[in-house]
């Protein structure tokens, strides 16, 4: 496993994109140490290739989808309902065969944040996302839906052979 974005990339602004990801690995393994969203209750999301075109991402949270999940999103969800004053969050994301050019792309993730409804409690998430495009993934965009990223946090993108 090799760290691709040397030293990790500090989250900043409204979104942070890791671009020009080389196609030389088989899978990607991403670890995100979470910072605070600006707005209480924000969640972290991720877009394949920074693509915000409608109807290309489909997402599920925490289980079986019954075969009825529509591609009606512009991103996948990594966390929900994070408190904006207690940056105790961590997320892992696994993206298999990201450079393949003949299959849909997919990630699964799991993570934990402080719940904004009760900061003493943990908000766990286990999510998955499909992206109905077959081009290689060369960029990952991360953003909070609760406004800009208030402070700190780091993204580590590892290539796995």
């Amino acid at each position: 496993m090799t760290l691709i974005n040397t030293g990790g990339t500090t989250l900043s602004g409204s979104s942070t994109t890791i671009s020009s990801i080389p196609a030389t690995y088989t899978n990607l393994y991403v670890v995100i140490i979470l910072s605070d969203p600006q707005d209480d209750g924000g969640g972290l999301l991720m877009r394949f290739n920074g693509d915000d075109t409608a109807n290309r991402h489909a997402r599920v949270t925490g289980g079986f989808s019954n075969g009825n999940v529509t591609f009606n999103q512009t991103s996948g969800q990594l966390t929900y309902s994070q408190d904006n004053g207690t940056p105790n969050g961590i997320v892992i994301v696994e993206i298999p065969f990201y450079a393949n050019t003949s299959i849909w792309k997919y990630f699964r993730s799991s993570g934990v944040v402080n719940s904004y409804l009760d900061q003493a409690k943990a908000e766990f998430t286990m999510t998955a996302c499909a992206y109905n495009q077959t081009g290689a993934i060369s960029a990952l965009e991360f953003f909070f839906n609760g406004g800009v990223i208030a402070s700190g946090g780091t993204i580590y993108v590892y290539g796995v052979k």
Binding site: T6, S12, F143, N145
Partner: protein, 69 residues
């Protein structure tokens, strides 16, 4: 008024660029914000309903879990 900043790290060059959103990105940002606010309002409404129901029943959240286990 300045727009939110996007950070882009380029793995090929090791460079980090911070720039303002363009028109399309800003429109998407505003759409994402609207969805977030709607979902947050729904979450908070459900939490309030749950708290009110527990109070009416006169039991704690842990006791409610015990009943449903």
């Amino acid at each position: 008024m300045s727009r939110p900043i996007k950070r882009i790290y380029d793995c090929a060059t090791g460079e980090t660029i911070d720039r303002e959103m363009n028109d399309d990105e800003f429109a998407q940002y505003q759409a994402d914000q609207a969805i977030f606010l709607a979902e947050k309002a729904e979450t908070e409404a459900k939490a309030a309903q749950k708290a009110a129901l527990l109070e009416r029943l006169g039991i704690t959240e842990d006791e409610a879990r015990l009943l449903l286990a």
